[in-house]
Point group: C2
């Protein structure tokens, strides 16, 4: 058994022990984590400095981008947000051991559907070291064991934060060992992807390439999205001011976000009134219009946008279902029939009317925390909150009941 | 593009067209199917005869079992049940376009979580030809396109039933083409397993080997269970009469079912009062006791049971979590604290108190129909009804809203 298989096996055992965790002990554990992070701020910043020295070299050689460097760099403000994030998660409703429904299926036989943790979750992320405390806290709150793999650039920071969290959890009486685990190398990831005997779900958070690689190389269910090719369709019944305002926000507010817009579709009947104004507004905001689109499925992740004129709402929907990534797509229209048509037929996680695609986010949806955004068609779709880290079991309470009595006709199930 | 890829692509297109289907048109389609099956009963029985001729040869050469032959054979009664099944599904609540919840996330911005079909579902099953009409009906009711692959033994019967269903659906005005598809060979299945671009979920219904093969050979999410290694734990606080009655039912009522018991665990403190009685009762019912257990994970699927004496409830739970298949496990006890401990710690789809494991079934749970039983830890677990064929999308309604107003602090989300 190799090291990662060993870690996975222990995490599986931890996940069984975690089934007993009460809400109180989980919140106590989260408080211990936040306090330990406060107490060890300086150590974290020092570890981060070691990573930044390396990163600066890579930055100077153009091996990493400035934005990656920025994501890696911690400061007092980011640390404060990180610690506040842990405290916020402690305040969320406990997602497990909730009775989702119960009913008597026959006289004296009660069936309960009860939420419970998934088990062991592997999370692979890049650069941002604040993800460790966020995911560890979500795992604790949902009674799941977690195996984390951070970016190589953040190895010192991640190692230090992990050490602090581990020590904090060990200090909590009756909290299971091995609930939070850290692995380091790309080889470790390859081993983790093979551990389908122990790991129940993999959540990759990072580049399209990372997510695609993981989906291609594991039998474990994967929750996430590889592409974020979002669209705005300006319907013939659009309010032009709203359309322009929303397009600017959806492209410029954070161009590298997965929920920023890549393609704007314009109904031919409104082209004359909106096209020039829109292009002007985009260009004033520094957006490049791609007029020679070769690949409508491309995610620019930058201040670039494609524009296409379409003959009908159905052509727009068809374009989105063909070239989109099932992430988030918005129609700008004052016609509610067209809005409903668009929202019904567009096969995406988020279908919007008169609002920026940038709203696709677990915090904005009011989930209190976000595990990631999923374009899956099973389990969880769209922004995923704590609930996405749960499944359910059925509890059935009887009193000596046997199936034979029902197949023989002696007893009946309720209708 | 090969034939199966072509079928899958067309099914994907059909699934988009199916998003518009109203409850009325779907029920009309189901009525058309049931009427067509009634009208063509004789043709179905004749096609079945062709399969039976082949099957008899295989039976005489011991290449198939008597029970497989029995499952393959249709008669008036089975046909009537099959047709009633279609009618029953038409009466179930429409599982899609249900608003699961809605809330205002900020002034004037409303978020709705709405159930919707998954898309394209591949179903692979063996022998029983009545599965075609059942799965086709479930797909119609849930607005999913489906690709079916039946057992080679039933090729004539399946082909005929498929033809009748296809013709019936074509006769329904505005019902999309290519919603129900049939493929034939093992090579077809291999092609289907590769069509992850078009197919969203695979449901294998059949032997452990079939399910294992499929899980190993596709990137498409698989819903189902390979093993059904169910346990009954007779706690030290068990009512002995209930224990014996339940063990007999769980083993003998239908020994080859996945929810029949394979291992009985007995608390050492109650052994003297229960062991001999239990063994006698089992033997009277023709059950063989396996005293030389080499593989606790084995599913007998026959009138054979393993018995083990355990020192504690925790040893029982640990045994089940180690050797079980996460299907269904029951504790026999009058002690509700022990029952809750068992039901919390046992990591299975169904955890029961004082009731036979044979109750693990969608119809018995009151779902009205069963897609299959899942031991997955994501999407759907336990007996899966129509709801398991759905996912959800988020609809967000705004009025020109942009994220910039929220990040700048000009507007706030509701808490």
């Amino acid at each position: 058994m190799n090291r990662v298989e060993d870690i996975s096996k222990n995490a599986k055992a931890a996940s069984i022990n975690a089934l007993k965790l009460s809400e109180n002990i989980k919140n106590e554990a989260l408080m211990a984590i936040s306090q330990a992070l406060i107490n060890n701020k300086d150590e974290i910043l020092e570890a981060n400095k070691l990573d930044l020295i390396q990163a600066e070299k890579l930055l100077n050689n153009n091996q990493i981008s400035q934005s990656m460097y920025n994501r890696l760099k911690l400061d007092e403000n980011k640390l404060r947000d990180m610690i506040q994030g842990v405290i916020d998660i402690s305040k969320l409703e406990d997602p497990v051991n909730k009775i989702l429904w119960e009913k008597e299926i026959a006289k004296g036989i009660t069936l309960k559907k009860v939420s419970c943790p998934i088990g062991v979750i592997g999370v692979i992320f890049e650069a941002r070291p604040d993800v460790i405390s966020q995911i560890s806290s979500l795992a604790v709150k949902s009674s799941n064991a977690v195996i984390l793999k951070g970016g190589a650039e953040a190895i010192n920071t991640n190692g230090k934060i992990f050490e602090i969290i581990s020590d904090a959890l060990t200090s909590v009486k009756d909290f299971p060992l091995n609930m939070v685990n850290l692995i380091y190398s790309r080889e470790d990831v390859n081993e983790m992807l093979k551990a389908d005997k122990y790991i129940d779900l993999i959540i990759p958070r990072g580049s399209n390439l990372l997510v695609k690689f993981i989906k291609e190389n594991t039998k474990i269910p994967v929750l996430g999205h590889s592409d974020g090719v979002c669209h705005i369709f300006i319907d013939e019944y659009a309010d032009i001011d709203k359309a322009i305002k929303i397009c600017i926000d959806a492209k410029c507010q954070y161009p590298s976000a997965c929920n920023s817009v890549e393609t704007i579709l314009i109904h031919k009947n409104i082209k004359d009134s909106v096209y020039d104004k829109l292009v002007d507004a985009l260009q004033v905001s520094g957006v490049k219009i791609n007029l020679n689109v070769e690949d409508w499925h491309k995610e620019y992740g930058d201040k670039i946008v494609s524009i296409k004129i379409v003959d009908s709402i159905d052509e727009a929907i068809n374009h989105i279902n063909t070239y989109g990534s099932g992430h988030t797509d918005s129609i700008i229209t004052e016609n509610s029939e067209n809005a409903e048509r668009f929202m019904l037929y567009t096969d995406s996680s988020g279908v919007y009317q008169n609002i920026s695609t940038r709203f696709a986010d677990g915090f904005r949806y009011g989930f209190g925390a976000e595990v990631g955004i999923s374009t899956n068609k099973t389990h969880a779709r769209g922004p995923v909150g704590l609930e996405g880290l749960t499944i359910y079991k059925y509890k059935l309470y009887g009193n000596g009941d046997i199936v034979e009595d029902f197949t023989s006709g002696k007893r009946q199930f309720y209708k």
